[in-house]
Subunit: 326 residues, 6 copies
């Protein structure tokens, strides 16, 4: 009886210390990363009962990832464990000045990318679940993953779950055209769409102000809710964040938030976690406020996860503090 | 024959690396921390003969603290060593973006909090001393510490010392009402009061521009000098600092200083150290300038202490450099 | 057959962690540093065939330095290895707030400073080389190094190399008057002069806007090209960079670039590397663009070297990205 | 429906790097530690369904401990969360040569030590559980903890659980006489007693070879099984381990194992975990073999937990490898 | 005109700190590793002109590996750079007590494993070279690598090089039967065979004392020289090393060397480097002595490379020092 | 009124992490080192009033050294501060297996080596002091330091101090012949001679069992007490320690102590500290016992200082513990 189930790949993230470049680093911090896992963890931190489904190799790297999920209270009982294949990884190079941050993937041939339809009994897993969430990364992993995405979204609809999807376009996995074709075919079954303004433009060619973009998605695909996040980047280490959510009835605009970047990885996933929590426990206004708070919080913490608590997010939604609390 | 004697609690400070949250950290940097100790260390760095009085457990944690004092040239011969009890500690969580920095204390039941009147022969300790300084944290530790605070301030007056007090309100130790009652009872014996504009408002309900606040203190309690420090915090990592000192004769306003925060812990104590040094070796203008320079310097250095030298502070008072010196 | 040969001293650089001061640090990061070596490494990263000439002690410290050169593809076959003497070093203290970054040298009595004319067969080394580059640090090391500087520049002219010189004034090595006298005597044989606007003022007393300063150098000393770099420092951690290059025919002004400082050491040398690469493979406009890109990149990377690739610099010259690339 | 439930205090363990002493260390590794938690984690690693019960403060330090339990798959749903009090901690100083390793506790006034009878509904928690395990540390924490120990052991017997107890004498918590009086009063309800040969001597004055000591316990208190672990320490970093388990029917003697000490903390708890697993899934011979393997493994891993897998322990029980596996 | 050319795969090696297990580690030290690269580096450290041939991805991970080769003076001009594929990696888990050290590979689908015959012009590369060396890992990588191995050994013979081969059996890459079949087909063209006594037993089923094993190889395959290394492992952290080399004329037995293991990775490759150096510059006695010295040295240094100098090895061959040199 | 005054050079010691070699290290731990300073610190840890005299540069490196002395309670008021010159340093490379530990000095031209007779008013400094101690390193630094050594030993005798000298031969500073000539000329004024058996052989050509060596010194130079320390080194990381002290009346032989080496630097100086403490507060038997305990303790602690306490040393003298204390 989960509030939220997500499915996707998780990887080891290797991060050099102190702005070092990958080519020069002799030490890497190891973390666990993966869009849908990040969302499950964020939601669990806020108190939702969450489960993350994936396919992992039965070795220390796979165990690390499952342990991380478990550490945050995410259920791992539906992970498929296999003895062959690998767990993907990537290097995250933190930038500054004129050097943008950058990700180098080494994720091919992962056990997850070889997941095939029929391997998981979705009706059993999804039974009684309130929301199923997936990102556009999963269908981009492989043809079989695209098929599983279709399979699981269908099963989720049938099980009466809300279906949530984040476009999360990755240029190293597929082209904008491929992404649009696949995602457009999924959207008719989706209830909640989350995307950055950039992805809406790159993948769907939508160039407009955010509310108009959201309405366009609603009108075209019959979605319940569309949330658009907007990131301005006046410099590599200083960003400005804002989001908007639109339904047939209302459009809610969040506040502009100045960000000092400690680590921006996982901030979109944190937004989704906060948004879904707010939506399930309140309304669209709460969804936007909690999504924004989770994303902003994430930017201040190293690693992919916000390490948030519900009371902390509630406090941040009410007022922002910049002086020390003691 | 000390220029400055301070008394108070010192704690171990545990700081996660690189903006990590306490809940996620696997490594902590250990430092020594304590308002009155910080002030003694800062003053010793500038060349004053200083002594710090406290009550410490005779174990490696207590030794660390005494060693740190000694390393900076602070006299430790009047520390009371006991075999029972504990040394307090706290976790310092460095913030960014919308997450303010935060302190988690674990300081209850410390040996210092169990200090009682009569345990220290104050007339012997204070004989010939020029300034005795204490913060509002000490009386907040326990009823017996409040009694010792009264005892030592009385002894200091009798020994002919100037008495200096920093309100240093800690919401986790007492309420504003409790703080006001206690501190107000001490102020008639105090010569120099230092406080943040925030504490003046929170504890004494004074809402006015700084000079007016200072004059209000002088008028009410017959103080010689009141120094008010002002901190604006446009973001978590960028602050603006300014201070003002007022006596019956003059009001001296320091310059506004833009701060890039490396570590703001101990900056108020560094101000006090610089202020008292400037006051003892010059006038109120020098006190403000040296206090400001010490505080600004402290913000740029990890840990609780500025690691300043007199010549460096003198140079900073004359001009500010932002390009590399080589 | 090298595109570029440089000659100078290299040192071990010891850097405390995380803004610590040298006096407080218990751990130092060790790097390799040296103006002419930095330039050779930057140029090699862009694809030039480069060689660095120096005099090093045959011990692990000397080997480290040679290994670093070799790691980046710089030829080390003309290094003079000696069994006596020392390798210099310095401590680099990273500043913030009102505390400027600072360098503490311990470079006296180095093997390089004892290099004497006649020790190296310059005509053999320089034969077929396109550019010889040296900084004003080398003649400042010792009288014999000044004599070798004269010797090598003469040999370079004779070998048909372009001669490039960066003033690189170091106040701890000589006075402005000494520097001017020496460098002025070298300039008639120099083709390309690079300098900061600050050094032009301090050493040559030139106070004017950059193009005028450059023209003044050209007119006085008959130089082919003069490049002036300009650094504004609104705060210790935020700088603005710009450069201009002037020849008899043209004046090229680069863009203003906002810098978030990770580590500014070696940025002038990176500029020189990019400038010489652009100049050898294009024109003055390319020289300025590549110099600026290399310098900006260097500011974002810890250590003295930009770890650049040609394709990265080419991309940066076309457009600046501040959002993550993945 | 747990296989194993344990109850006790957990603390933060702070460990200096590389044999540093606590008084000199500037960095501490932070870990989670606690005898009964360690046993629960070890058993969960081998596949038992385990639950750990404790009383924790609702702050980042309490969360860390619960997260660690959860990371290893230990159920935390019966933890009592409180807003007042503290989480204990200790410093672990790793020794060498003539300096024995040493622990400095700072555990007084912990939330766990203030647990009182009636706070936990034991019949609900223990229902259906196979084994309840506790160590002698818990009743030593405070009078109320001693009362809770009596309460829970009674409830466990009533619920039909096997009751397991490890003497685990801590000289800093109580005297041998106090320990004996308390534990002797509990033993009539205990089924499985685990102890070191040293504790049997210190607490119960039993000086004999291990099997005789075990039989003495069985005869005096009517125990089902007694396991005795023996540690010889020819040097600080080289120990020899052996254990024996005795029931009314049999006495099983394990092999002597040479240990290279990486970290010996938690090795006794790892033994208990392996022993209980072996006992529940096999017989006394298996219990000894799995206990020994888990303890030996624990000595090779930093921190309090063995990070074992069942297949690894099974492999070690069959044969020992000292050459690299690749 | 190289003294030594080697060919093979190189990988990133990720090593947890201080005996941590891979599953628990949050930090990894990154190194460069690869049997034939290690041998090339070791030989370059002793002064041979060496070249390493491989196939690498043109990204920061590939650059790191090439930079490491270059740092040690190994020629990299014959590396094939490709834009597709990956660089393999592995995790090295250092053991102690009853836990043997262990390697977890993630090396599938590497660019090197996709090297095919015809991709490299071997006659050009090998022209004038004295020794070509390869290990049994290379043909185990893939069918095409096996074909390239055949190709290059043929080319080496034709170019007049001595051919050296180390069996270096890896159980995770192929079975003993597969290894034997492949290597046996190569041995008729091999001049120098190096192997551990274990590999001779596992792959070729030879169970005898080392000299007899060596003679058996010589007799069966017509080899010039066979070197057998013997490792006893009384514990995980204490090994004993010895080697023997046999030709038709002589059998040279090295001394038994007690090893304190800091890091045993690459010790076999270091032996090969020392052996080939000794063989090329002396005789079989020198080969054994230098091979043993290099291997012993390697065990004392973290990472895959011995960081040896010729003078150091010469000194060690003469006498062993266990007291500090200062 | 000091119990002990020592004089000598102190240096920064740079130590790579985890057995890395200097040539490969990117990080160094920085410590303070110097034979006579080490002895002063060790003696202060045991409770003697000690003072260390030296000549230091007034920069952060000099301050670090003085701060370290002060941290341990050593008086620094007689240090000569100068603005010119440098502070020496050395790299300490920890060995294992067949690679002995090694020290690389970079100590030439230090401020201390330029100390000259007349610079310090020795009669003022030494007045009332009980013991003056110096090592043979000081006269080896320079001709002027040799002259100062003569000067201070003369002054010490005149002031009625016991004079203590440790030969401490450094092959990189002078030859055995030079050392013997100098030290032999000092010995007639020395009361207590400490030396290793190795130095007695190397410098004075004495090859005999320790008591005979000691008697030979006593007979030749009229010494009060001679202490000889003996170190066997069966491997790089396992040594055996023993010492003997001889006077005209008695010969006291200490126990053989097996050492697990964490860091052997400063162990001889720790012996001297313990020996002098024991001698001043007891007799020769106590001197040997405390010297041995301090030396053994030092081997277990990183850095040059034992971080001992008197009660710990007293405990060790009574019995040795190898099991954890908790």
């Amino acid at each position: 009886m989960f509030d939220l189930i997500t499915m996707g790949e998780a990887m080891i993230r290797l991060t050099p210390l102190n702005f070092e470049r990958v080519v020069q680093a002799d030490t890497f911090l190891a973390g666990t990363s993966g869009s849908e896992l990040n969302t499950a963890i964020g939601a669990a931190q806020l108190g939702l009962k969450t489960c993350w489904v994936s396919r992992l190799v039965d070795n220390p790297i796979g165990w690390r990832i499952a342990n991380t999920a478990r550490e945050h209270g995410v259920d791992i009982s539906h992970i498929l464990w296999v003895s062959e294949g690998r767990v993907g990884l990537y290097y995250y190079e933190m930038g500054a000045s004129t050097r943008a941050s950058r990700v180098y993937y080494d994720r091919c041939h992962s056990a997850m990318s070889q997941l095939e339809p029929g391997m998981i009994d979705w009706s059993g897993v999804l039974s009684g679940c309130r929301v199923f969430h997936i990102s556009g990364i999963t269908p981009a992993l492989s043809a079989s993953c695209a098929a599983v995405t279709e399979e699981v979204i269908g099963a989720a609809k049938q099980a009466g779950c809300l279906v949530s999807l984040d476009i999360n376009y990755r240029a190293q996995l597929w082209s904008p055209g491929q992404a649009r074709e696949c995602i457009a075919s999924l959207l008719p079954q989706v209830d909640i769409l989350l995307t950055t303004l950039d992805d809406a433009r790159i993948v769907f060619g939508l160039v407009a102000e955010p509310v108009a973009v959201a309405r366009k998605f609603i009108d075209t695909y019959g979605l319940k809710v569309v949330a658009i996040t907007i990131r301005e980047a006046p410099s590599v280490l200083r960003h400005v964040w804002q989001s908007v959510a639109v339904s047939n009835e209302v459009a809610c605009l969040g506040e502009r938030i100045d960000l000092e970047l400690v680590d921006r990885m996982g901030s979109g996933d944190a937004y989704t976690a906060g948004f879904l929590f707010g939506y399930l426990t309140g309304d669209l206004t709460k969804a936007v406020a909690y999504g924004d708070a989770m994303s902003a919080l994430k930017h201040s913490v190293p690693g992919d996860h916000p390490w948030a608590t519900l009371s902390e997010v509630e406090r941040q939604v009410k007022s922002r503090e910049t002086k020390i609390q003691r």
